[in-house]
Each structure stands twice: as C-alpha cells, then as structure tokens.
Symmetry: C2
Subunit: 402 residues, 2 copies
Amino acid sequence: MIELVQGGSITSARGFLAGGAFAGIKTAGDDALDLAILLSEAPAAVAGTFTTNRIESPSVTLSRQRAANGSARAVVANSGCANCCVGEQGLRDAEEMASLAAGHAGVPDEDVLVCSTGLIGVELPMALVRQNTGNIKLTEDGGHQFAKAIMTTDSRPKEVAVSVDIEGRRVILGGAAKGVGMVHPNMATMLAFIATDAPVASGFLQQTLRDAVDVSFNMIDVDGDQSTNDTVLALANGAAGGAEIEAGTAAAEAFQEALTYVCTALAKELVRDGEGAQRLIEVEVEGAATPQEARTAARAIASSMLVKAMVHGRDPNWGRLMMALGKSGIRFEESGVDLFINDIHMVHQGVAIPYLKDAVISAMCDPEVRFRVDVNAGDGSATAWGCDLTEEYVTFNSAYST
Amino acid sequence: MIELVQGGSITSARGFLAGGAFAGIKTAGDDALDLAILLSEAPAAVAGTFTTNRIESPSVTLSRQRAANGSARAVVANSGCANCCVGEQGLRDAEEMASLAAGHAGVPDEDVLVCSTGLIGVELPMALVRQNTGNIKLTEDGGHQFAKAIMTTDSRPKEVAVSVDIEGRRVILGGAAKGVGMVHPNMATMLAFIATDAPVASGFLQQTLRDAVDVSFNMIDVDGDQSTNDTVLALANGAAGGAEIEAGTAAAEAFQEALTYVCTALAKELVRDGEGAQRLIEVEVEGAATPQEARTAARAIASSMLVKAMVHGRDPNWGRLMMALGKSGIRFEESGVDLFINDIHMVHQGVAIPYLKDAVISAMCDPEVRFRVDVNAGDGSATAWGCDLTEEYVTFNSAYST
C-alpha cells in the first residue's frame, strides 16, 4: 500500500540531509539556487542509469565510475552548466567539485557523485564553486532546496515522496527531478534522484532501479532529443531498519512497486512541464507481439511531431496515430487495429467508426489526452508519455540569440 | 555535362504527355487541380521506390505490384485523399481509378500505376473521379499541370528537367514532386515522378533509381514522420533513341549522374518548401567509419528538433549538433570532432574555438545553413538536408479543428 507523503521531498527518507546555495553559475533571480548537495548520514547503496549519448559529460563519467562501487555518501549537483564538450578540463572540474562537496560534508572524495545540467561547451566556473560550496546548509528539510537548485528551464520543482509498509516497517522513498526538453536553450537534460531509507544491497537496487526507469523515464518524450547529461541516481541507506530486502520476495515486490511509483510520478511531471507544453499525452499500446514491440510503438506515437501538434490543436486526426504506429516498424496487420481517444472508439479493425467530431475535440481539451491502440497481434503492452508541441516550444528554443 | 532545361517539366522528356483536371477531391481554389495523368506514348521501363511504413495506401500496393512488371504506360495521381486506412474499399478504388485512366488514355489497365496523397481515413470520392477523368487533356506541355495537380499543402509546384549527352545523343530527364511534412493537415506525403526518354531496361532503371533516391529523397527530413503513401516512380521510354544503356559503362555513369541530379534538385525543393520552413539546412558528415554511419549521423543532425529550432533562431548553439551527433550512435571519439557552420570553424578536436558570435549569427541568416562535421574516424561521408522548425509549422499542424 503506497501512501503519498504530503509536502514530501527527497529528504523525507530518513537519514538524508540536503541543501542548496546560489553560486552564480546560472542567472540570478528570486531565490535562485544552482548548487546543491544530497548527503546520506550513513553509507548508502547506490544505483544509477545514465545517458547513452556518445557525447557524455565528464560529470556523468565520474558518477558512472563511482556508482559502480555500489556505495556512496553524497551527490553534488549544479545547474546552469552541463560541464560537457570542454575537453579534459571537464573531468578535472567534476573531480574538484566532488572533492569540495566531500570536504564540506566530511566524507571521502570517492563517495561523492556529481551531476551537472545547463549549457554545453562552456567550462564550470570553478572559482564560484570553490567560494560557495561551503555556504550549503545540510538539513533534514533541505530536500526542497535541492529540488530547486537543479532546475534550469523548469517552471517548478518536481518532488515526490511516498511511504510503503515492508515487513511491518515504514519505508520512505523521496525523489527530485528536473527536465525538460532543452534547458538553458542549449541542451536537453534530465536528472532525477531518489533517496530511500530501505535496507537494500546495491545489486538489488540497481536491478530495481533499471526496471523502474524502463517503464517511467525511458518512456517519456518531449522533443526526441537525448541529452549528454541524463542521469537517474538512487541512494538507499537502510535507516528504516529491518532485514535487507532480497530479490524474489514479497518485500522486493513492494519496494519495486514503490520505486516505480516514484519514478513514474517524476517522469510524468517532467513531461507535464515540458517546454511550451500544455497537455500530457498518454499512449497505451496493447496486443503487440512482444512487450518490446509495444514499447517501441508507444514511444513512436508519443514522440511523433505530428501527433504532438494535433494534440495541441485538439484535432482528432487519428490518421497520424496510424502513420506513427506504422513507421514504428512493429508487426501487425492494418485490419487488426483498434484505436481509442480518451476511451472514444475511433477505429475498429483498421477502419474509421463514424464519430461525433465535436465530442472528440471536447475530450481532447482535457489536460491529459489518452490514446489507446490495440494491434491484436499478441499480449505485449506498454505505456508512454509525451507532451504537445506548441508554438511556445519553437519560440523558446529558437529565440535565444536574436 | 548536365544542362538545365529552362522552364522544363516532366513532359520535357520526349514521348511523354500529361495533363490535369479539377475533380473536387480537394478544396476548390484558383486554378485548383487534383487529378492528373502522365502518359508515355510507347511502353516504358518503370522503376519505383515506396514507403516502408507498415500502414500503406492501397494505391501504393497496386503501384508496387504493377511496377514489378518492369513496364508501364501511365501514372494517374490524385491529391486531397490518401486512399489509406479505408479497408478493402481502398484497393477496389485504386484499381478503378487506374482503369478509368487506362480507358481515357487508351492503354491496358495493368499498365497504369496509381498515386494518392491527402487525408488519411476517408474514401476516394469515386463518383467525382469517374466524372472527371475524361476531362484530362494529355498534351506535350501538360507537365506543369501534372506538377500542380499533385500539390497539397505545397506552396508551389516542384519541377525540374535536365538534358545530358549520352553517346552523342541528347537524353532528357524531367521530374515533378510534391511534399512536404503534413499535407492536408493529416499526413506526411511525398510523391516524385521522373520521366526520361533514355533507352534503359527496367532492372537497370530500378538500380539507378534506388541509388539516386538513397542520396536524395532518403536524406531529407521535415518532421521525422514518414508517410503511408511515399512513392518515387521513374519511367523511361527510350524516345531519345540509341542503344540501351548498360550497367558499368560511361553511359550508365552519365545517366546515374543526371538522375541523381534530378532527384536531389526535387528533394531539396521539398525541404525548402517544408511546412513553415524558412531556411534549408545542409548537413555534411565526413570522416565516419563507414558511409552508412555518415548517413546515420547526417540524418540525425538534420532531423533534430533542437537543431531545426536553433537554425530558425539563427543561434550558433553548436552543443546541439554535438548532442545530435552523439545520439546517432555512430562510432567516434569526442576528441576527434571538428565542426563548421557555413565554413566557420567552431569546434576543433572536440573543444570550442573562441568565435565572434555576431559573425556566426550573420552567417546563419543565409537562406541555406551548412553544418559540416568531421568525426575523423574513417572515410565515410554523406549529406542530408532538413529545414528549420518554425512557429508556423506548429500552428499549421495544430490549428486544423479549432
């Protein structure tokens, strides 16, 4: 039974402290923060998933290496600069930033992971990082500051915390994320952090995180572009007490469910706050030959520019859904396709059902538009999320220099 | 030596007639045409390349079957209706439309190919096709009418004709195409037709066409979506006289060059007239491990929404080119990348060169913006074309129902 923690944050999980400061890496503004630390009071199991872009920020490289150790104490994150495409200086700066945070938090250098987000191609202003790391106050309710400090073009912080009973103990998972699309109008970056007091080993945490990310962050799309800095990190410090959760048990299942809930909630928040976005698109594909084909088709539909544009215009142009389904390359017969828009049956066995257009347009005015496609080729199903494509997205991502 | 035929059209090739009529399939307008026939006076070798979308218009299905015979006499094409996702009626209508055109032109049914473009999910208004096929006047200068009748959201017809000397004889190739992005705001469709009086066999024509399409139409992107109706057809009737052109000869090379020229000219016209587009983007990738990897990378860059948006904003955000290059998945080292914007060297060995921003912005105001990326991993090179992403694209593709 998963329960939301009202007003929760990443430090809702016991034994975690966090805080943020303004170092001047991004433009100053009301209460702007751009440098933050998340600290576990005890050594925590750590797991991570990282960008597959061949161009990778050295901050990602360092975190990937250190996460492989399976244990960590802290994460330091900055917004405003991606620390990417800056040659060998990038790794030196990531290492120094981790070392500064380690010194401030009183933990070993190699127990600190680093995340950066912002403009590609400019070096981290290390003088500012050196001056300001010491200003970060690490507190039990510092999670909100952490969520705020990682924002770039996000219009609001993205946080969630839940509790779940596991073998009679209350386990808490808190998360923070930032998106979404292009950040400083120069790159796409998505970062997410999950802290939990569950008692788990790093191998189990890694597998659980991978499964959760596969059905959440890996199923969202804002603009089809993939950042050089994408990172999801999970830390689990066991502060909830109890025996270590073992794979294959009811406890493991409950933990997987809670972690998936947190990842999905954050992923949907990212899409909902997509640059220029006004509506969330949910695409369910059912009846695919395999689960993988269902994923492929759901993502193809959710990331089609034409589907995104039709949602923006509340236009029930279901032919675009058929087009996107077809270009995904999954196996199906046209005559097997059923298609629904917000539960209104639009296409049966590949042929349009005469529909009341005004009713569908009305349904498409909802803040969440759901497309359900049954291809009747098997048992595979998957859900993907996207956002609509608006004039504001284009203006935002093109009006930078002129 | 390829020479442009001034004011040329698809009927510049000898022995071809064409014409168009308004049947009322699309909205009436000044001089609107929506039904057209291209006729070869003698049997012509035929070759075609077709959409790989799993959802395919029965017009495509029929043309694919008939093109496989290697010989044809005519093509009938309509705009305003894609004849797609309409169940079994679609094939019956395609066959009847071909039969009506065959009767009008006085050729066997099975020698007529069919192309449709327009709205998905509605049936062809066959009553109108039956009434109006007979109104099409087939003339030697009817190529312009043909090019006009296949337009949907195109702002202008796309035509080109060239002549080339092959073994002392003047061979002419004429072409017509339509695009581009979403057509009636419901689908992406690209059709192109090439007529030539060169004496070639269908097997040679098919191979030559495939090679030409690979470096032209297959290297353009407006919005990443692929139509259910995409078709390129070439007809060669030998009216230029002379011996049949054989593969592996100088004549074959000259013909390949001329066909590639025509396909590339039409492909670039499609992109230049992309929905909402204001600038053409040319992406050259050099030094890839293989030609295929160069193609993959060039297409990834040319189709990135963020790259398209930065070109619209004349914003030299080269980090987006690195991001798109990285997500393409081709093999390279970041430290091997050199990057140029309109010949201005921006990145050397993966690191930014300090540049005068105003100069690059000024270069990016050109109607054609060229990105050149050398990944220094081999000898593979390729060129792709895209257009910028503008607010008008979004407005156009979303403002249909509301």
